[in-house]
């Protein structure tokens, strides 16, 4: 609660997959301030991933603490708003698995690996998040060329 009102967060339904293994359905927190997709290492256990065999490690400053993320490329699945496991859009991304992550979401969806794959619109007014194809942004606002 903040000033007596509930705090709403922009969540979408995702799961992670690696080979034949997949996680349960998760509420992934969309975070434009995060540069990567980060997840609790509990999810790497569900996927049967050995994080000792990682693709790189990076420290992240989170909530006044420093957390080490060990990165591994896995598949991410975006599910519809009714949480159907059978329906999803799948893509691959490097996910930083963090030990001892105990927050209000077990997955953080940041820029590289999520926001660079889709056009995401969050409305506090509608209390909803819309995820569209990446090209939807250009169609709506015109092509923006990076410097």
């Amino acid at each position: 609660m903040r000033l007596g009102d509930p705090v709403f967060r922009p969540f979408v339904y995702v799961s992670l997959a690696c080979g034949e293994q997949s996680t349960t359905l998760l509420e992934g927190l969309v975070d434009t301030d995060a540069d990567a997709v980060l997840a609790s290492d509990l999810l790497s256990e569900q996927l049967g991933i050995d994080l000792a065999d990682n693709e790189g490690e990076t420290p992240h400053a989170v909530g006044g603490r420093t957390l080490m993320a060990r990165y591994k490329t896995v598949s991410l699945r975006l599910h519809p708003r009714d949480g159907s496991l059978r329906e999803y859009r799948e893509w691959e991304a490097q996910v930083g698995f963090v030990q001892g992550w105990h927050s209000y979401s077990l997955v953080l969806l940041g820029s590289v690996g999520f926001l660079d794959c889709f056009t995401v619109t969050a409305s506090r007014f509608a209390q909803a998040v819309a995820v569209e194809d990446r090209d939807a942004f250009d169609e709506r606002f015109g092509a923006v060329l990076s410097p």
């Binding site: 609660m1 359905l25 975070d31 301030d33 995060a34 949480g83 105990h102 927050s103 209000y104 979401s105």
Partner: protein, 63 residues
């Protein structure tokens, strides 16, 4: 389209899983592993995370 609301009262300090169609909490436990295990393979059931206590600081961004 009406937003789905979840009533988290009584679940403070626990990890929860929610039925995405109704917003109702269907699994809760202090151990996130237990919630993940019980939710595994259940259609429409999504694991959120830990419900904060009312007197905990409100996180700004990832906490």
């Amino acid at each position: 389209m009406q937003p789905i609301r979840t009533d988290f009262k009584g679940y403070e300090g626990k990890y929860v899983a929610i039925d995405a169609r109704t917003g109702k909490i269907v699994i809760a436990d202090e151990d996130p592993r237990v919630v993940l295990e019980k939710a595994k393979g259940r259609d429409h059931v999504a694991v959120r995370g830990r419900v904060p206590y009312a007197d905990e600081p409100v996180h700004v961004g990832l906490g």
